[in-house]
Subunit: 368 residues, 3 copies
């Protein structure tokens, strides 16, 4: 098994960051008050752990046949985000969780896709991708995002009993979204396996060394636990660290948590783009955004009823609503082109940068 | 003529609901205070009447040649909605009328199209449709909806004399929309008959037994009068019934009236989808939405000057504006794909369900 | 040189309006209080001057090779708007400048493109254009507009120090937009010259008589100075004139300045459409909108730090934000069709007319 890990280290230099894992535990023991250092080490530790989780999931998925494998990939694909969010949920940091949900959709749509188009475009003059698939995936992302955001867009804060109404509405929406998600799995893993031809995650693993199932299952368990432990340090330190960097919790959730949580998928999307497999990059970026909206967010709403000090609703602050809607519209326009050059990536990153700058300078008054 | 009706009954089982027509009149005579029962019977009676109206219109249209026939189909296609709305307008229920206008656009775009894609997709694995036409129609719907909604989106309620300004603006807009509508008829019935190839309503009647012109004209007159009489019972009972079902007038207008009014078109759109004629379904769903925005709404604004206790303006409540805009954007994304499976229908219905749930739990504070 | 001017007069009847140039200077000397007359004369004078500027730019561009020429066209293409805006900026009329920026994007997208489709469609039954290019350009416009508008959409006016924050944010955004603009020039003039095949401005000059470089350079200098002088009269008289026409400064900036400033480009776009070269029309309309967002607006923000009485930020009033976003979405939908008839032009003009009517009847309370 050591051997496998070394092999993986050679294939993915990110994994050298694994050294941050023991470092962060040691630091927590020795200097529990050095919040900024703990925060930085935790971030550095989560990135390679996410890559390992992703590799382990793919290894299991590859061996268990298409349907179960697809299911695993689909549900465990955003496992890192889920574990971090659950830790924050238990700590009652609902604003951080909501910011990281909105941020994950925006970051995956604009930053992940933008960087993939830029990196791919720097190596290949013009890149083509299947516009039919991209359009369908973008439409799905838009629909999922709209369903997630509609209560915030309509707003109920101007009436008595608003909190109770919003809580009811959020639970209803979470159930609707999960039902739609399960039907989506039935659709894409069942009879319509090739409907989104060429856009599946599975392809990502093709040219990597997969682990045997037993190794993969052990890794899956061990790494998930490790991510959970590191997440706890991360969540504890994040507020102090944010303050010392001059960042608000909303900024940390929207930008930092979202990028850290999606690090593994980003590596895969960027590497696919550089290999001129833009369909795969688009599939990863749009797919994981959709999954955040249709799976991670509703699961967290329902879980919050049991594990959070107070339940979490789906009331996002106005800026988050606008940013998510614009991101999904943006992606849908870019997707409908079917052709890319590096400048398209620059433009997506421009929009992302303006979002980040706005959020940095004009944080939401109440973070939710 | 009895024979024709029996034939029609066999072809369209909806027509058995015609039994509700005498029932509703009897009930009004015998139990004028049983509002809930009157409401249910009126709804049941309107559905088959709408189907008869639609069939009569098509029969006349088929015999009068393309240009006049197209004109008839275009102007009488939403006759049921128009008659119900006129009745409500005369009763001064402006909020109900406005909610039903916004609701009709949303219902036709999301529910009618979503259900058509779902029903069609359950029978046919993958359905293709002409994406060029669908995109053009979606763009037209978006433009019409934007023109209708812009005064509400900009908003004037924060200044003195807001009501008078909004009234002026609404009349100006209604005239602009009607001019554009007439030019649209010139375009599509005149020189550019095949511009939206394969998307005309006419096809709907192809495989049904059309009535001779005289029968059709008589039916048109008789049924319109009947719809008007039933509408009066409907409008009188709707507020009491809504209260007893725990629904707000906005919910009734947005969801119930919209679905009832479009029942006939829905039957046609669903049956076309099951016959794998998705172009026709898309044409009916988008066409009748566009017609609400460009014909029914402005006609009602102008009529309200003469028949309503107070004139109706085009100030919709904020939630309605957001829902209509999102519906039209959604439809345009789905249309641009040109390919459908049942899951796309599920997603459209998901968005519709979130709208309905939001409206049910968070009704607008003032219904307009 | 006189000869060249006469030649140009024959080719472009607009140039007869040059008679208004001496007239406006004479009027300013003789009747400095006749603001309305000065305003009308100034408008009439700017239109042919803009056409001359545009022709001079193209003449220089054609002779200096592709890269430099493209650069000239790209940076001087909106020179008229820039000169008018700088004059207004120095006079401290920030609201007028901001209204004209938002108005220029809306006018170029809806009015210029709508009129081009209408005029082209009246001569040619169905016109096709390259939908791939159109979609890419529409996506770029959307991205640029979003980056420009995001601070207004998020809003900061509800907190202490809002003005200082907005100023910081605007400067940051201006720098980001200019960097993206320069990268865009590198992209489209450098390695990816044919990425937007057939959509360059250069084609516009093909069948006109270009001037020799020396004539062109002299004209460029002389006309720019003249435009600056006329702009001063225009800016001085605009407020009085607007009042006497019953128009608000916002209406004048959004509609009048925007149409006047883009008169030259409109002539080119309309003439191309009538020659069935719709790709060129679309390219001009979308290209100059994008340039306003990515070049003119940020340059004015940065210049305002030095030449305006108080610096200009990018806080637009809510109606402007909505209108710009809807315009860019609209254009993107129309572009994705790839096919046009005259009615599509009518619909774009309908939306423009509803915007103008709304702005006329419901001016923003504070113009910015």
């Amino acid at each position: 098994m050591m051997n496998r890990i070394l092999q993986a280290l050679r294939a993915n230099p990110l994994l050298w960051l694994l050294a941050a894992v023991p470092a962060v535990f040691a630091a927590e023991h020795l200097a529990p008050e050095s919040h900024t250092m703990l925060f930085v080490l935790a971030v550095l530790a989560i990135v390679p752990l996410a890559a390992l989780l992703s590799h382990a999931t793919e290894s299991v998925a590859a061996k268990t046949g298409d349907a179960v494998g697809g299911l695993l990939n689909a549900t465990l694909g955003n496992l890192t985000e889920l574990v971090i969010a659950i830790t924050a949920l238990r700590a009652g940091m609902l604003d951080l969780v909501k910011a990281s949900l909105a941020g994950a959709i925006v970051t995956n749509s604009l930053f992940m896709l933008g960087m993939a188009l830029l990196l791919g475009g720097l190596r290949h003059r013009v890149q083509e991708f299947n516009r039919g698939n991209a359009r369908l995936q973008a439409a799905m992302l838009f629909l999922a995002a709209v369903a997630l955001l509609i209560p915030s867009a309509i707003g109920a804060s101007d009436r008595p009993g608003a909190d109770a109404i919003m809580q009811q509405l959020s639970i209803g929406l979470a159930v609707l979204l999960l039902v739609a998600y399960v039907l989506g799995l039935l659709f894409s893993l069942g009879t319509h396996r090739e409907f989104f031809a060429g856009a599946s995650h599975d392809g990502a693993a093709e040219d990597e060394h997969l682990w045997p199932v037993r190794t993969a299952l052990v890794m899956l368990a061990v790494v998930t636990v490790t991510v959970a432990l590191v997440s706890e340090i991360f969540v504890e330190s994040v507020q102090y660290a944010a303050a010392s960097f001059g960042m608000t919790p909303a900024f940390v959730g929207f930008i930092v948590v979202a990028i850290v949580g999606a690090a593994a998928e980003m590596t895969a999307a960027f590497s696919a783009a550089r290999k001129d497999r833009l369909d795969l990059s688009v599939g990863i970026a749009l797919g994981s955004s959709t999954q955040i909206a249709m799976f991670v967010a509703p699961v967290l709403v329902l879980l919050s009823l049991f594990i959070a000090p107070t339940p979490m609703d789906l009331q996002f602050w106005q800026g988050a609503v606008i940013m998510v809607l614009i991101s999904t519209l943006t992606v849908s326009m870019v997707a409908s082109g079917g052709r890319s050059g590096w400048y398209l990536g620059v433009l997506l990153l421009l929009v992302y940068a303006t979002f980040a700058l706005t959020l940095y300078l004009v944080p939401p008054l109440t973070a939710s």
